[in-house]
């Protein structure tokens, strides 16, 4: 288990026009880490979906708020957390508080977020969702080849 991590955190207004900014950022981070084009596109969609959920559901119409996106950069994986509580969080502590992603969570979340959460689950290797103090979506994408069979649809396209 590798524990060395670089950490980047961004706080954006909970407005749809800033989801693209997060997408540019994660594209840069994932590219630096050596992910393939297909993997980067998958990560972009998953993280955008989480941000979209936060932007669209976290705050009632007319109320302003913020979304925090944390990126944990490891040698072998990229961890991303999207939280709509607007509060900075302790990344390590927060991720340990999140329970396993269960079948019942999936169904509940799918009815809320429609295709978005389904895509997050399909495109990332690990996903956990917490509903305590706002919604947090925590997701992991591994760099190493052997973990790619988690995402069967993606592996069909990995030609690198």
């Amino acid at each position: 288990m590798k524990n060395v991590m670089d950490y980047i955190e961004m706080k954006i207004p909970a407005k749809p026009e800033y989801v693209g900014v997060i997408r540019l950022t994660i594209s840069g981070i994932a590219s630096n880490m050596g992910y393939t084009y297909e993997q980067i596109e998958d990560i972009k969609i998953a993280v955008s979906e989480a941000c979209t959920n936060a932007v669209q559901h976290a705050y009632p119409e007319g109320e302003s708020g913020e979304v925090i996106v944390g990126f944990g950069i490891y040698e072998d994986k990229l961890e991303t957390m999207v939280a709509d509580s607007g509060q900075s969080f302790n990344f390590i502590q927060k991720k340990e508080e999140l329970g396993p992603y269960t079948e019942s969570t999936t169904v509940d979340q799918l009815s809320e977020g429609g295709l978005g959460l389904y895509l997050i689950e399909t495109l990332m290797d690990e996903v956990r969702v917490s509903n305590t103090s706002g919604v947090s979506v925590f997701m992991v994408k591994y760099l190493s080849e052997e973990r790619e069979n988690h995402d069967k649809a993606a592996s069909d396209h990995e030609t690198y």
Binding site: P16, E17, V19, G20, R23, E38, E41, K44, I45, S48, E49, C51, T52, V55, Q56, G114, L115, G116, Y118, L119, T122, L123, A153, H157
Partner: protein, 110 residues
Amino acid sequence: MKVNIEQHQNEKDVFVSVSGEIDAYTAPKLREELLPLTEGNNKVITVNLKDVSYMDSTGLGVFVGMFKQLTKNEGELKLVELSERMKRLFAITGLSHIMSISDNAEDVGR
């Protein structure tokens, strides 16, 4: 980051080209422009997605909305010139089984 929509139409058929990124910010604009085109019976709308560089569930939602409306009015929605990425998005969400998608412009069969 923006989305551009070009369209031309004759009596029954509508042709639309979409370019740019379709996400939470641009999808409402797309919906606003495309959904009114589905009004009327037996409409056939062809949407070319060749120049769409990014799309997520917000974009899928727009096309699902069009598909539902057209199907109700006995019309048809054809999505054409999808990139590999785009085809994959429709495949993993299961939408490619119910909607007409194609990777080239001419052959718009399932």
